[in-house]
């Protein structure tokens, strides 16, 4: 029994329930205190602790299984929840705070879940609460996006559940281990990959995240995809298909980001791209690769938070979200620009920031196992990342010619959260050992070698030069990019038309048929002799409808009771 009253997941969920009853300054202090308490609790955990409860006689639910890799994800989840809460502190309505805390709690539940049943429950809770975060913006586009998001994740959850059931049938155990080969393996893999946004199951991410509110989006960037990376690392480490899926993902995200005009959607595609590195690292499965995936997840959560906060600050201050409508706000928002650029240098892997110390681990791991194509694909994706998040987005948002955009004031807490995130990105970049000693396998790795530093710098400066040559052709286009969500949007529309048209007509015809048959039977009972009478007036039909329903219910209950009596005596 560990040194806590309940797992960190329940701290967040309990706090979420309390939030609506608090107001003003007290609530602000309370929601900032939750991550602090959870972090203090995490510090007391030592690997190997369990918190189990018996379940259905034969099974054990493991609500808290502490391992180094899980602990590493939990630390950064809690840190980001503090920054995200701080960033959203000026929001007066409690809805988003509740949804956000619930979401963090659910993802911490997944992080520490030691059995598939607990994992599934928190997995679904995560889907629902993240949809609530999107919904809390409460306008038309966010409602639609949240609805599509929820449908996709329910499908993914159903797939996972089916996999878990098959796994239980095959092995008679619900422990989180590599599933039995065959159906359970692939169903669980698909369920996890959907949450990790592996294409073609990735369109939900870039579709829904930019529709969340400026503050809600910060929560979304971190949890769903990274819990998926963690569970992939726990049970699918070394699965070869993930190496290629991950490498393709990195380039897929980069190409789609290049086509994007909406600044947060561009960054959303780079979540897909960066998670690709982690999925690839998990697929490689060596100690260095899994350490790389873990540390990259840690770094990614911090710098992606900073990038989304920066983009959100621009949207908050200007009311515009497309690069083709922005430009020239550098003088008016210099601090936001600097902090955004720290995030951009981190994601691009510039020496001195935290992307450099983690991304290079995965790339080195790929060359260690002699996969040159993978290594070059990952480096290429890194170039594309710098091109769109480090050059194109800031150039067209901040530096391009001024359009006379009015810039509003930023709340102080938003700036503070950005500073906090940028500080952590720089701190872990300069002192990589702070992060490396948290890693599960503690592999020996030194990022700051002279050839590595000069190599990265050369690569980035060359990218910058090419950008300068092509800059005039790269501006935001007023276009919408078709992604794989096209399929379910179209299919959804056709399904809706089918249900409203043929299916509904069919159902009505069927109802009419049933009503008429019941009517005829009724007539046969009430008026023996006149067997068939077609109903001619609708009022009469309604009258007989009620009668026939009554008789139908009566008959059914008699049959049911008789069945129960027979059943009782036969047992």
């Amino acid at each position: 029994m560990p040194s806590c009253i309940f797992p960190p997941a329940l701290i967040y969920i309990g706090a979420a329930i309390l939030v609506p009853s608090l107001r003003g300054r007290i609530r602000d202090v309370f929601i900032l205190l939750v991550p602090v308490i959870a972090f203090a609790q995490l510090l007391t955990f030592t690997p190997g602790e369990f918190w189990t409860i018996p379940f259905l006689d034969d099974y054990q639910l493991i609500l808290l299984k502490v391992e180094l890799i899980r602990l590493c994800f939990a630390y950064v989840f809690v840190i980001l929840s503090f920054l995200a809460t701080l960033y959203a502190l000026h929001i007066k309505q409690p809805g988003q705070h509740v949804a956000g805390l619930f979401y963090v709690g659910a993802s911490l539940g997944v992080v520490f879940a030691g059995d598939y049943f607990t994992l599934f429950v928190f997995w679904e809770l995560m889907a629902v609460s993240s949809a609530a975060v999107i919904l809390s913006r409460n306008n038309r586009s966010s409602r639609h996006a949240a609805y599509r998001y929820l449908l996709v994740h329910i499908a993914g959850g159903a797939c996972l559940m089916a996999g878990i059931v098959f796994q239980l049938a095959a092995t008679d155990s619900i422990a989180v281990v590599t599933p039995a080969p065959g159906l359970p393996f692939y169903l669980i893999l698909i369920g996890f990959c959907l949450n990790a946004a592996v294409p073609p199951l990735s369109a939900w991410l870039s579709d829904a995240y930019p529709e969340a509110s400026v503050t809600g989006a910060i929560y979304l960037t971190a949890y769903t995809t990274k819990t998926a990376v963690l569970v992939l690392a726990l049970v699918f480490s070394g699965t070869e298909i993930l190496i290629w899926a991950g490498a393709i993902m990195t380039l897929y995200g980069v190409v789609f980001a290049m086509l994007e005009n909406d600044i947060r959607r561009l960054l959303g595609y780079h979540i897909i791209s960066q998670v690709g590195y982690m999925v690839c690292g998990v697929g490689l499965g060596t100690e260095l690769a899994v350490d790389g995936a873990t540390s990259h997840a840690f770094s990614h959560i911090l710098y992606k938070g900073v990038l989304f906060m920066g983009a959100g600050a621009v949207i908050h201050a200007t009311g515009r979200r497309r690069m083709s409508e922005l430009g020239g706000i550098l003088r008016k928002m210099p601090l936001t620009f600097i902090l955004y650029m720290i995030g951009a240098f981190s994601i691009a892997g510039a020496p001195g920031w935290n992307g450099f110390i983690s991304k290079s681990m995965i790339i080195t791991a790929a060359s260690d196992v002699h996969m040159p194509v993978i290594e070059l694909m990952l480096v290429l994706a890194s170039i594309g990342t710098f091109l769109s998040t480090g050059l194109k987005l800031p150039y067209y948002t901040f530096i391009a010619p001024d359009r006379g955009i009015k810039v509003g004031r930023l709340p102080k807490n938003m700036t503070a959260a950005m500073i906090g995130g940028a500080f952590l990105c720089t701190m872990f970049g300069i002192f990589p050992d702070l992060l490396y000693r948290l890693l599960p396998f503690a592999s020996e790795y030194h990022p700051y070698t002279a050839d590595h530093i000069f190599g990265s710098l050369g690569c980035m400066i060359a990218t910058g030069l090419v950008f300068m040559i092509f800059a005039r052709y790269l501006g935001g286009h007023m276009t919408i990019t078709t992604d794989t969500d096209w399929f379910y949007r179209k299919a959804g529309n056709y399904l809706l038309r089918f249900t409203e048209g043929p299916l509904d007509n069919g159902a009505q015809a069927f109802t009419r048929f049933v009503v008429r048959s019941v009517e005829n039977v009724t007539n046969a009972i009430y008026h023996p002799g006149s067997i068939i009478r077609t109903s001619d007036s609708s009022a009469a039909a309604r009258g007989t409808l009620i009668q026939s329903i009554g008789i139908g219910v009566g008959l059914t209950s008699v049959v049911g009771i008789m069945y129960l009596i027979f059943f009782y005596f036969s047992v």
């Binding site: 980069v254 070059l376 007023m478 919408i480 078709t482």
Partner: protein, 164 residues
């Protein structure tokens, strides 16, 4: 970009490349790990490749041109520069002709009907009846040809070109 910026960037690139000749490669597995400046060359070529590939995919397969029609200043209350959306006269997904009525708004007590700025397909509505919008915020997205989108851009967002 100014000549000075080019000068600085090319200078920095030359410096880094020169430095690589004096650095002993640390972690060599493939031949290219030993080639000096490999990363810089790969970076330049890779960057061009990404730009071209994404552009071709966009132009021929993935791009649809939409324009976000904003609430104009002249259609907003002069004091608070807001207007209230009363009623949508179209649904999303509907093809509209130029000057077809799209939305009823209320500006300081008066009702006004806004018309479609061009022929196209309404793809997304960004407000519900009863919502207050500030001038400059998006009312709805309309799918149009690229040239029309550029014309609308000039009309709604001033004369500056995005590529100037």
């Amino acid at each position: 970009m100014s000549k000075r910026t080019y000068f600085i960037v090319i200078g920095a690139l030359a410096l880094v490349c020169a430095a690589e000749f004096f650095v002993h490669p640390h972690h060599t597995i493939y031949p290219w790990h030993t080639i000096p400046c490999f990363e810089a060359v790969f970076g330049g070529i890779g960057c061009v490749a990404i730009i071209l590939v994404s552009r071709v995919l966009g132009q021929f397969f993935l791009w649809r041109t939409t324009f976000s029609v904003p609430l104009e200043q002249r259609n907003a209350d002069t004091g608070s520069s807001t207007a209230r959306v009363l009623n949508w006269l179209v649904e999303s997904g509907v093809r509209v002709s130029e000057n077809q009525p799209i939305v009823e708004i209320e500006i300081s007590g008066n009702t006004k009907v806004l018309l479609a700025p061009a022929r196209g397909k309404v793809v997304q509505l960004f407000a519900d009846p009863g919502n207050e919008l500030r001038a400059g915020e998006t009312l709805y997205n309309i799918e149009v040809t690229h040239t029309v989108a550029e014309m609308l851009q000039k009309r709604f967002c001033g004369e500056e070109d995005a590529h100037a």
